[in-house]
Symmetry: C2
Subunit: 307 residues, 2 copies
């Protein structure tokens, strides 16, 4: 099991230097999540050979156009291609109203059901609880209600040591209990085989935090502490710190400081201002503080597959 | 003076074969009109070096996404680039409500004013009356209220024959009257110079009709009769005539028949179904009926500059 993150778009408000608006495809176990969906995201998915049918969850961070104007087009194309599976759409207040209004005027009854889940602005909550993972909101500090998302695998079961197993006669129930950490018992209740002999430690549980548009907000590090992968907006370099503050954005240095203090595995920087044709300054500034920093270059895939 | 039409996008509902959703830039005298605005239109404008600031009028035909999902993004970019000039936005009922709702949730007060003009479905009316031209709606027959647009220059003034002018002593008022077709009179009211001697016929007045999504509707030929340039949707070739009928679209043969009977100068075919990777069948079928037919290939410019 591993995490995989494909950057589809990484620029801030204006399209510039061949960079598109924010969109990411995040893969956790067998699930594909689309995170944010700027205009043209469906074209970028086509370019990078992402099959629309694999996406069952879309997470939108906030109602600025560079993060969601591609959504209605994507939903329409899913409809056109005959989608019938339910789609889970997590986002801010207003998203449902806009999508439903657009569908009403096009007189479109989608072939598939959308389960809208609206986050509560300004608080952190488990917004989606799956058997194998949770998604928790990260309350950013932006000009409109804005949430990041923390995707976190739940602790996994212990692994049976297959090398030893053929010598034992174990029932399915006994194996299931071993995976839960229990010993195998004799009929009289005494220990027949110790768990620690027959099992190996679980695979690690991975986590990814997506921190969308925000003024630098160091107190969020408690929520994202120790994640394997952190995406954090870094619209500006540090010489534009005042501008970042005014426009409720973060600098590369601030994002890196945040990553360092939150002890994350890797930092990915994105949401670049159109003023930066070259992004070296952003990357260098971050690496001076936190060496394991990378740029969210479109088409790049980031993997996490072990600690 | 001439007409100029730049095809930005020409495909129907799905993006396919590198063809984008419908959008056209139409230039009449010194005015630039954007007609329909599918998702990604602002990127296509960037590609074809169209300056956003030149556009003061946008016409939307109907509320299917492949004709307007790029509009809110375009308006947002105009705002971001500091536009202050008023923008005239002509479209169907519902467009204003959707745009305003999206602006409300992004907490955006545009720097510029949008003058919304809503067309009345199912009737033909002069929707925009300018000193030099009119725009008349063309009521298409589609699944939702849909309008084409007829852009028509008003008759122009007579032209002064500059070769003769230096020999005369004429006031500005006399020249203005000559342009209106009047003679130059002596003080006693008798004719000093005949108009026909000093002036030439006016330049021709050009016209362009944009016929958007519709079931074949031959009775519209009265509205578009004799236009220099006609764009007509031709989603399908004639072997898909039943499908065209069911989905409220037109075949290439029908579009060409319409062009022929309306005695237009040139026909441009567009809004192609994704099923056609190659468009030869569409073009050939149309040319069999009306030889001066062309395909709306993206990036192509069509000119009309004389009869």
């Amino acid at each position: 099991m591993s995490l995989e993150l494909l950057i589809l778009g990484s620029n801030s408000a204006a399209f510039a230097h061949r960079r598109h608006h924010t969109a990411q495809l995040f893969k956790l176990q067998d699930q594909h999540f689309l995170i944010d969906c700027g205009e043209g995201t469906q074209l970028l998915m086509k370019k990078h050979k992402v099959r629309l049918s694999r996406i069952d969850h879309i997470f939108i961070s906030h109602m600025h156009g560079d993060h969601y104007f591609g959504l209605i087009g994507l939903l329409s194309t899913m409809h056109l291609f005959g989608r019938q599976k339910e789609l889970i759409l997590v986002g801010p207040p207003g998203l449902k109203e806009i999508i439903q209004l657009q569908l009403r005027y096009s007189e479109t009854a989608l072939n598939f059901h959308i389960r809208f889940i609206e986050f509560t602005p300004h608080v952190s909550e488990v917004i989606y609880d799956h058997l194998k993972y949770t998604v928790t909101t990260i309350p950013m500090n932006h000009r409109v209600p804005c949430s990041g998302y923390l995707f976190k695998e739940k602790p996994k079961k212990r692994r049976i040591n297959r090398k030893l197993l053929p010598d034992m006669e174990l029932s399915h129930l006994q194996i299931a209990r071993l995976k839960e950490g229990e010993d195998v018992l004799n009929e009289n209740g005494t220990v027949k085989y110790e768990n620690k002999v027959l099992t190996l430690d679980p695979n690690p549980s991975f986590s990814y935090a997506y921190c969308s548009d925000s003024k630098y907000k160091p107190e969020l590090r408690e929520i994202v502490e120790g994640v394997d992968l952190l995406y954090h907006e870094s619209t500006f370099a540090n010489d534009m710190k005042d501008r970042a503050e005014q426009t409720y954005h973060t600098t590369a240095e601030q994002a890196a400081t945040f990553a360092k203090e939150a002890k994350v595995g890797k930092l990915i920087l994105g949401h670049f201002s159109a003023r930066y044709k070259e992004l070296d300054i952003i990357l260098e500034e971050a690496r001076d503080v936190f060496s394991n920093s990378e740029l969210a270059i479109e088409g790049t895939k980031f993997f996490v597959d072990g600690k």
